[in-house]
Symmetry: C2
Subunit: 203 residues, 2 copies
DNA sequence: TAAAGCAACTAACACGTGTTAGCAAGTAGT
DNA sequence: ACTACTTGCTAACACGTGTTAGTTGCTTTA
């Protein structure tokens, strides 16, 4: 039998597996449409392949979500490990952590956004696992702020509330990404630090 | 023919139409699961009725989303109309607006949350309409802040960035709602105002 | 009590979904 | 050139979706 049809292939450089290509495209799609609304056929089209072909590289749609959520979560956990160990003031730790969050949100927009908004669609045991990590992370962040309060570096406020404000404020970078007339990334970072750290400092 | 089956009815008090009951339950469901993931059969169960019966009261699933999104948007637009007209300082205007946002998020959690997160699933022309209203609202908010900057009431910052931080920070009240050991609503409001307004004020 | 209208029901349709089976076509090693 | 492996394809399934048609039951009005 003679076939002359053209068979697409997912392009890859060295060190980038075809699976990575798929995961990356998935992040873009999940951000645009939301996890539920993005179909495997949409994803296949973005990758340049038929839907069924994706399953040579991944196990399921939710696996894509796991990968995205946990890779992001791990980056933040490693960073807070690092920062906690540094011999600097509480307010400096907060600032460092904020700058990391801001830069992650600027440079790895799609993944971070998806991890933040779409984790609800994870299935157990991944779901509980993710929620746990999240809870723990926030507690550690709050502990840094508490320390700053008892040092009188930081205003007397409810630390968990402060954490919640910081984290959500940063997720607002989403709007910056979409806006037509953006200020530069550096200016954005500087402005956010000014307002957020300025709101914490005790005079 | 003799039928003895029980036919459920949606309970209503005076002034609350059956449609209102449906819309309210829809808000809860859309928040929990997301618009796409929440099915009409889920909604029917929450209301205590079969899925098809809902269509005696509503036109479509998306109509529910329209109603939610625009009722919330209108409340905010009316409020900013009101505040703009008041003869008070810029920083007082910002504080009033923030307090309104915070209270809306506390007291009408489900609707506000859905309007904030799920508007992407609106269909044109509602979609463009909503986006426009949102854009305009933010510009008006930013204009108040700009005024405060030129008055030297507020730090020299990028006003649109400040707006973005404020609005997203407030959406963090979502986490407060879900947390097990909540501080009181009054404390929450006070803390948020302290941090956010504190971050704006010029010394 | 009869008539009219509202609000529920059952049944079903058309469609889009994630995923699998089985096979063809490329690629790499000998 | 032969073989083994990877990666693509087509076809199809089972299921869940929003929604409509047609009918029965309940409530209100005359």
């Amino acid at each position: 039998m003679l076939y002359l049809r053209f068979m697409a292939r997912i392009k890859t450089d060295k060190n980038i597996s075809r699976k990575d290509v798929i995961v990356t495209k998935a992040a873009i799609l999940f951000r645009e449409k939301g996890f539920k609304a993005a179909s495997m056929r949409d994803l296949a089209e973005a990758v340049g392949v038929e839907a069924a072909s994706l399953y040579n590289h991944i196990k399921s749609k939710t696996e894509l979500l796991h990968e995205l959520c946990f890779s992001v979560a791990n980056r933040f956990l490693h960073k807070i490990d690092e920062i906690e160990a540094e011999p600097i003031s509480a307010i400096e730790k907060v600032e460092k952590l904020l700058r990391f969050h801001i830069n992650e949100m600027i440079n790895h927009y799609e993944e971070v956004y998806v991890s933040d908004r779409e984790w609800k669609h994870l299935a157990d045991p991944y779901l509980s696992n993710f929620q746990n990590q999240r809870r723990i992370y926030r507690k550690r962040f709050a502990a840094i702020i508490e320390k700053g309060i008892s040092n009188h570096e930081i205003k007397k406020i409810d630390a968990p509330t402060a954490v919640l404000i910081m984290l959500h404020a940063i997720s607002g970078i989403e709007s910056w990404h979409r806006s037509t007339q953006k200020i530069s990334a550096e200016e954005l970072e500087a402005n956010m630090i000014t307002i957020l750290v300025g709101g914490l400092i005790n005079k």
